[in-house]
Structures are given as structure tokens and as C-alpha cells.
Amino acid sequence: MAAHRCSLSALLLIICSLLVFIVADSEKATLTGDHHATAVDNLQTVTETEEGAAAEEPAVEEERRWEETVVEEATADKEDTSAPETVVQSSVPQPKDDFQEELVIRPLHSGDIYASFQFRTLWETDFMRGNKVSHYRLFPKSLGQVISKFSVRELHISFTQGYWRTMQWGQPFLPSPPGAELWVWFQDSVTDVDGTWKELTNVLSGIFCASLNFIDSTNTVQPSASFKPLGIGNVTDHRFLRYATLPREIVCTENLTPWKKLLPCGSKAGLAVLLKSEKLFHSSFHSQAVHIRPVCQDWQCKTTSWELRQTLNVVFDLHTPGQGKLEWSLFKMFSRTLTEACPLASSSKIYIDITDDPQGEQFEVSPATHLLSQAMVLGDRRTFSVYDLTQQITFGTVRSLNLLIRWKSSEGDMLRPLLHAERYVAGYGLQTGEIHTLMYNNHPYRSFPVLLLDSVPWYLRLYIHTLTVTSKGKDNKPSYIHYQPSKDRVRPHLLEMLVQLPPNSVTEVTVQFERALLKWTEYTPDPNHGFYVGSSVISSLVPSIVAMDTNSTREQPLFSSFFPCKEESSYFMRVYTEPLLVNLPTPDFSMPYNVICLTCTVVAVGYGSLYNLLTRSFQIEEPSPGLAKRIANIIRKMRGVPPL
């Protein structure tokens, strides 16, 4: 046994070093190729493990039936695995465009409910070709025109209200920072990237009714390593990448309505009927996003198609109106039930995550379904109950589907997320301060590298020489640092670094800054509220939870549990920290005139006294004659008589 452990740890060591190598390499263009290779392997393993799982399952529950196809891993983060998976899906003969919709519901350990909508439109077309695409069917025309007009290769935009609490809720399927986030890869044919970016943000601002027009050079950065293209294409020159966040942006109905209009069925049919804004915005967390990227159409990647993915994630806090009895239903959450799938959709499904409760002990789901599916989500193997809305049987006799979950007991603890981060500002007063970023690696024995991206506005002047990275009380020197200092009123600070997180540790990154005094017109209307600093972005290949499970309590076939396989050993993850709210010293806004007058007076005093001394000369003061004498003299002068 000891020998086994030895060999195991040796293997782990090798994998760790391999990981470091891969991530270190990921700044270079080789990344995409690497990814495809791993992803293809990954796919095979998924099927393998599934077989393994399937082999053991029937003994437990005879009547449950596994879904035939591999569940498309739409929900998993895309960069790692999803591209080839979509290939599997699209290898089925199909029309030139295709629309799918799904809803994943996951009861969270905190008692909240996480609902994640995904709508995907695939279209085999080429926006970039000379002839204008004019016939749009499922793909929204407004976005199609944006892609061709601005030569966009990839576009990712998200609007988020609230902060995702990783420690309570686990990992989201699609992470997003509070406020608005926009990142775009342009085609390498674009010459004036900054100009195109400016126009694009203004157009998107109109499409989504958001203040994206506030994106300018002072909050746009070009990350060198953190944001790689998620679709096909191997141009990774970060000159064509623009990334901007607006942490102050408030998301509301006016952003949801245009987002819903991009769907082929609008909010008339399908899952989108649930998206009622009065319920969606009465939640702990709300995030809506649009992702556009080119994907492969077949195995050989001979043809490409455009993928538009609209996602909407929402976390409902059901404790407050629950009054002790914990249950929720589609009707309670969205004040609507489902009656049909979107007729244009080729697939329309609802998944309910029952991984934590395979036996139905903690909660029960009704109506019950026998369709189960399993998928690798964020490095964890999850089991889902599936409701296929294209089948009439799903809606039963009442012709409407109202899913209902009733909690029986609320115990059970969540596996702590392997990677999690938080950030705060330390120090007091309005002169200086220190930004602390804490990154937690909760893996018991594996270290992994993370890429930290910080974009700090120019009015917090960072001092890079005060940068310290410590883990476990020791100095942890980043192996890669990309730093771009700010220019006043032109561009923000950009700090990117690759840090190795030791196992089971907290890594603290601190950097000091100085608060600038701005011109009085540069302050926001409520200057004493403070200024927002966008979230740090932590991107990482995290060792998967499945691979961590060496002392598994689960029944597993012996042949599958000895070597942690490489494909499962890591997955891509992105974590956003809290945005910061920083106060700056303010001038008195009420007295520009007074200040101008007073300062000018002082300068005039200086000028006047020197002028006086420079131009005049000393003379003996003669007593001036009296008034009467002077008048008499004037009269005498007029008369032509000599004065007195």
C-alpha cells in the first residue's frame, strides 16, 4: 500500500510539473492546439467513466434509465472541454442553423436555488466574406451585423447584479464579475483596433440599453495571458483583444428586454417564458450574458459555424418567504409554469442536479422523471434528472410542467471550492492604501498555478515595488509578471502574474497605492460614495475534484480508481473577486469661484509688490498742499498767474 502511495505521489508530482508547464506555455500561441488535444482525450474518458458508472448503477436503481447521449457539457466552462463536445452534437445531420435551450436547476447547500438558462444558436455561415449576409433565420440580425461590421471574432458580454458567493454556493457554471464585463477578440484584419472598439461599445450600448458607452481608454486593457480565445482560431496576439469592466453598472429590466429579444422565440414560448423581470430581479444574484464565437462544425473542423450562447444565471433566496417550510416550484420562482418547448428549438431540456441526493433523502422532486444523465461539470461528476420539453409526456395530463422540490432535511455539507478568492482595501485615511487579494487553494495535496489579472484605474497610483506575494508565511515569487503602469486620464494599470498556489494554503497578494486628487469635474455625481475598482480575475487550470477522490467512499470499480487520469486531473476555471469601493480625497465642489479668486489674489499680491518695487523709486515725501490751496492754484493757472 505504501508503495502504491509512493508511486501515486510521484505521478502527481509529474502531473503538477506538467501543469505548470502547460499554463506557463499558455501565454504562447500553442495553447489552442494543446487544448484541443486534451479535450479530445477528455471526451473519451467521459464516455469511459460513464460506462463504468453505468455498470454499477443498475444494481442500485433498476428503474432509472440513462440518457442515451452524452450530456452536452454546455454548462461546464467552455475553455476546457466544450468545443469538441459541441462537435459531437453537431455531427448529427442538421440544417444550417440550429437552436437549443436548456435550464439547469441546482439546489444549493445554503438553501438557495441556482437556475441557469442557456440558449444556443449555431449558424453555419461566414460573416466575414465579401457578400453581405442578409437572410437571418434564428440568429439575431442585430448581432450578425455587429459581427460583420466590426470584424469581431469573439464577443463576450455579461451584465451581473450581485456578487457570486463562492464559499456558500460553490462554483457557477459561467462566472461573471459584478457590473458589466465586455471582452472582444477582433479579426487580425482590423487595423484600427481602438477605434473599432470604441464604435463597437457604443453600438452594444444601444443594443443592450446599457452604459457600455462609458468604456473608454481609461478602463480598457489588453490582457496578455488571462483571456484567450474560446472558439477556434489560433491568433493569440493580444493586440486584437480588448477587455473592459464597468463595476458600477446596474442591471435591470431595460437590459433584460433587449436580451430576450435576441432569442428566436422571444419570451413567447419555450423556457424564456419563465424570464419575468419582476421575479428575476427579486433575487440574490442575477447575471445575463451573451457569448459569440466561431466553433467547429465537424470532427475535421473543415467548416466553421458561429455560435451564439445566451446565458442567464439567477440565484433565488427562498428562505425569506419560505416560512419554515422549504419548498420551491417553477411557479413560485418564476410565477409561470412551462407548457411547451420553443417550436424552433431542436432540443429543450430541464436538468435538475440531484448529485448530492441520489436516494431522494434530502429532497424530493415532483413530477418524478426516470431520465438521468451524468456530466463532468467543473471537474466534478454530477448527476441530473432530465425533463425533455419536446416530449409531450413531460407535461402530463395537465398540459403544464410545474417542477417542485420539497426539502426533507437541510443537512449535508458542500465540498469547499478548490479555488476561491477575496479582495479588500486596507489602510485608513485618504492618502494611501493597500489592496489585498487572498487566493485560497483548498486542495489537500496539490499545488496549481493561477493567473491573476488586476486592472486598477489610474487615480489609484499603484506602486509595483511594494508588490508582495506570500503564501504560508513565505515569499512566493510570481514566475511571470506583466505590468503596464497607468497614464493619468489615459489608461489604467494592468497587472498580470502567474502565481503557484501551494496546497491547502492562502496566498496573499498586496500592493500599495496612493489616492489621487482629481479635477472637480472628474468626480462622479456622488463622490463620497467612492470609486469602484473592477474585480480581479483569477484564471486557472484547477485539479479536478474527481481526481482528488483517492480515498473515495463511493463504490467504484477497482480498475478505475488507481491512477488519477490526466484528462480529468484539471479543468479550467475563472474566479472573480469582489469589486472594491475606494474613497478619494475630494475638493470642495461648491467654491471654484472662491478658489480662483483667492489664488489669483495671492499671485497678484506677489506680482503687485514686486512690480511696485521694480517700477517706483524712493523719493522724499513732501507734504501735499491743502485742498483750498490746490483749487486756488488751478484757478490761478487758468488765469495765467503764477501759482501760490
Binding site: 509578471i481 479635477k519 475638493p587 495671492v602 524712493f618 522724499i620
Partner: protein, 435 residues
């Protein structure tokens, strides 16, 4: 004379070394009165860190020192404390030597004038004796080295100390009559912070006087000398700027150093007049007032040189004072430099009008700076106007001090030519007025 000076230097160095070791050093180096964005040591270290990261220090807006400073500290960063103490010592010794030389000349001139009977009879009181002039150089060194402003500036490692050393060396070489060195040091000072450019008039006047060339615009010898000096000055400036270009490989430092000084984008509070004025300025008037304020610094050169063409050393003092009051990022280190010259004019004290008031205001303001800063930034119980009010008062006091000395100087000169006890036409005692 060397022994008291050595003792003074020892005391000064000890005080500084003790403060470097104390916990006050960190506190002092953060004070906005002591360091400006141009001279902060923190920013020098940041520039070095950026160089180490392979980023040009001028690509950002944190570092605004000249390339020579960054290369100087590239080698001396571990000996920074010694460098700054040395700079102060050099300044003090240079001022000491130059004032000693200057006093000798003043005395000689006075002797010739006495021999030629040029002074009115009742002016004997105004004649300076060698005895009272003996300790002036030492007092100058003491005023510089033991001035709390200099000590603070040195402990904060403000590069203002280095600029002061360069200017002091310029004064020394000018007074010693070394034309080449004077031009080189002046170009170095200009290279460091533009404003000392205005000192070239004073240097020219002094050197002309020393070489007995009359200031006459129609004389060839005058123009020839001016051309020589300008050539040396511009030549060395060109060499220094070119050297910086070759060290750095780009011209980035020009907008980042000189553009920064002239356009005042950084509104961090300081003891000057610029920060709050331009923070509160209406955007469309900004350029206009920027030009007015910057021209204001250079403007006084011509009238002052005309008025003081016989007294170039006093002109240097006036120029230094004007620069330190009206420059865009002043610190207390700049004030310390012109204040070091005050003992040289100790014979003017009988003509000063409001020295007591001014010194009280200066002392009170110096004490109020940290108090009001604390109230605004840390306690939150005051706002920016409080600190601004103190900077205004401080500057008014400085202006009054300088103009008072100017007045006293002019008045003494007037008395030396017209007699001390002036009478009216009717024989009663007269009062002097400016007309």
C-alpha cells in the same frame, strides 16, 4: 574657520543619521509638504522597480525624475541615505565658500567706494565691518544644514536635495568666476527642473561684472561674452539631454519630466498654489491659467535683472525665492535653499518692515500644515479648504518676506547714494516713499 564648519557638518550628519534610524523617517517621507510627485523617493524606487521589470519607467505616470537620476540611483540605491546627506553637505559647503568669497568682494568694493568718497558722510552706520561679516558664511551653512525644512527633506530622501546641491555648486562656480563650470552646473540644474533657467541672467551679470565687461547692448565684447556663455550652457544642456537619450534609448522622458512640470496633471496637494487652483478650474480656462501661472515664474527675470544689474548675487536670491514660491510642485526643500541666503543680508535688518509678523506666520503655517492635513485626510472633520487656506497664507508670508528683503535692499542702496538722514526742503526730517 574650518573647525566650526566641521563641527556643524558633524552635528547635521548626526541629526540626519539619527532620524533615518527612527520611526519618523517613514512618516516624514509620506508628507506632501516634503515630497512632491517630482521628487518623492518612493517614486524613484518605483522607477527602478519598473526598470527591473523591463518596463520603461516613463511609460507610466508615476516616475518623473530625469534619466540621470535613475541611473545615478541604479548604482547608489543601497547608499541612498549617504548620498542625500552628502548632497546636503555639498550644498552647505558650496554655499559657505561662495558666501565667503562674495563677502570678500563686497568688502573690497566697499573699500574702493570709501576711498573714492562715494558714500555720503552720514552713511557710516551702513558701512559693513569685517567683524560682523566674519561669521556670515558659517551662519549660511548653519541656516541650510540645521533648517528643519532641509532636515525633513533629507530624511524623506526628496531628490530636491540633489537639485539644491547642483544649484549651490552653480552659485559657487559663478562666484568663483569659473565660466565653464557655471554653465555646466546651470544646465544640470535646468535639466533637473527647468525653472533654474532664469538664473542664467544673474550668472551672466555676475560674470560680466567680474570680467569688467560693461553691460552695454552696443558693445561687441558684451555680446561676445553672452554668446560664449550661451554656447557653453546650451552645449552642455545638449550633451546632458543627448546622454539621457542614449541611456534610455527614447525621448519618452521629455514629456514625462518637462511636460509634467509645465502642464501640472498631478494635483496631489502640496504647499504651492497650483494644486487646488487647477483642481477647481473650469476646463476651458485651464490652458489659459496654466500659461499665466507658468509665465509668472519666468516673467520676473527681465525686470529684476534690470533693476538689480549691479547686484547679481541678490538677484540670484530673488530668483530662487520667486521660483520656490511660484513653481508648480514646490516642497519645503526649495524654501530651505533661498532661506539659507538670509544671513547674507543680515545688514538689511534695520530696513525690514514686518519681519516679525512674517516669521510668526511662517512658523504657525508650518505647524498647521500637518494638523489640517490630518483633519482633512484622516479625521475627516475638515475639508480641503482648510489645507488650502494654510497654503495660501504660507505663500503670502513668503511673498511678504521676499518683497520685504527686496525693499530693504533697494532702500539701503538709496541711502548709500543719498545719505541716511534725509531732509525735506524745509529742513525737517523726511520720510522715504516709493513713487
Amino acid at each position: 574657520m574650518a573647525a566650526p564648519l566641521t563641527l556643524l557638518l558633524l552635528v547635521a550628519v548626526t541629526v540626519r543619521a539619527a532620524l533615518y534610524r527612527s520611526s519618523l523617517a517613514d512618516l516624514i517621507s509620506e508628507r506632501v509638504e516634503v515630497v512632491s510627485p517630482l521628487t518623492a523617493w518612493k517614486r524613484v524606487v518605483e522607477g527602478l522597480a519598473l526598470l527591473d521589470l523591463g518596463v520603461s519607467p516613463y511609460s507610466g505616470d508615476v516616475f518623473h525624475e530625469t534619466p540621470l537620476i535613475i541611473y545615478l540611483f541604479h548604482f547608489l540605491v543601497d547608499y541612498a541615505e549617504i548620498t542625500f546627506m552628502l548632497a546636503d553637505v555639498i550644498t552647505a559647503v558650496a554655499l559657505y565658500l561662495s558666501v565667503k568669497d562674495y563677502n570678500k568682494q563686497v568688502f573690497r568694493k566697499q573699500k574702493y567706494a570709501l576711498e573714492a568718497d562715494r558714500y555720503p558722510l552720514d552713511c557710516l552706520e551702513l558701512i559693513r565691518s569685517p567683524k560682523e561679516m566674519q561669521y556670515i558664511p558659517l551662519k549660511v551653512a548653519m541656516f541650510y544644514l540645521l533648517n528643519p525644512f532641509t532636515i525633513l527633506s533629507c530624511v524623506a530622501k526628496s531628490t530636491c536635495g540633489l537639485n539644491n546641491a547642483v544649484i549651490a555648486l552653480f552659485v559657487l562656480s559663478t562666484i568663483k568666476g569659473n565660466v565653464l563650470l557655471s554653465a555646466i552646473f546651470l544646465s544640470l540644474a535646468t535639466y533637473q527642473s527647468i525653472y533654474p533657467l532664469t538664473l542664467c541672467a544673474a550668472a551672466l551679470l555676475y560674470l560680466l561684472q567680474r570680467q569688467y565687461i560693461p553691460v552695454n547692448l552696443r558693445r561687441f565684447s558684451f555680446w561676445w561674452f553672452v554668446a560664449q556663455y550661451a554656447f557653453m550652457y546650451l552645449g552642455s544642456l545638449f550633451v546632458i539631454v543627448g546622454l539621457s537619450f542614449f541611456l534610455l534609448g527614447s525621448w519618452d522622458f521629455l514629456p514625462s519630466v518637462y511636460g509634467f512640470i509645465l502642464s501640472v496633471p498631478d494635483l496631489t496637494p502640496n504647499i504651492g498654489l497650483f494644486w487646488y487652483f487647477f483642481a477647481e478650474m473650469f476646463e476651458h480656462f485651464r490652458l489659459f491659467f496654466l500659461c499665466v501661472f507658468q509665465i509668472n515664474v519666468f516673467f520676473y527675470t527681465v525686470p529684476l535683472s534690470i533693476k538689480l544689474k549691479e547686484h547679481p548675487v541678490f538677484l540670484i536670491f530673488m530668483q530662487l525665492a520667486v521660483i520656490s514660491i511660484f513653481k508648480s510642485y514646490p516642497t519645503v526643500g526649495d524654501i530651505a535653499l533661498y532661506m539659507a541666503f538670509l544671513p547674507v543680508w543680515s545688514h538689511l535688518h534695520r530696513f525690514l518692515r514686518n519681519i516679525f509678523l512674517v516669521s510668526c506666520v511662517l512658523l504657525a503655517c508650518s505647524a498647521l500644515f500637518p494638523v489640517l492635513w490630518h483633519l482633512w485626510i484622516y479625521a475627516g472633520s475638515a475639508n480641503s479648504n482648510f489645507y488650502y487656506a494654510i497654503t495660501l497664507l504660507f505663500n503670502v508670508a513668503q511673498i511678504l518676506l521676499v518683497s520685504d528683503y527686496f525693499y530693504a535692499f533697494l532702500r539701503r542702496e538709496h541711502h548709500l547714494s543719498h545719505g541716511l538722514y534725509l531732509k525735506r526742503k524745509d529742513g525737517s526730517e523726511a520720510t522715504l516713499v516709493l513713487k
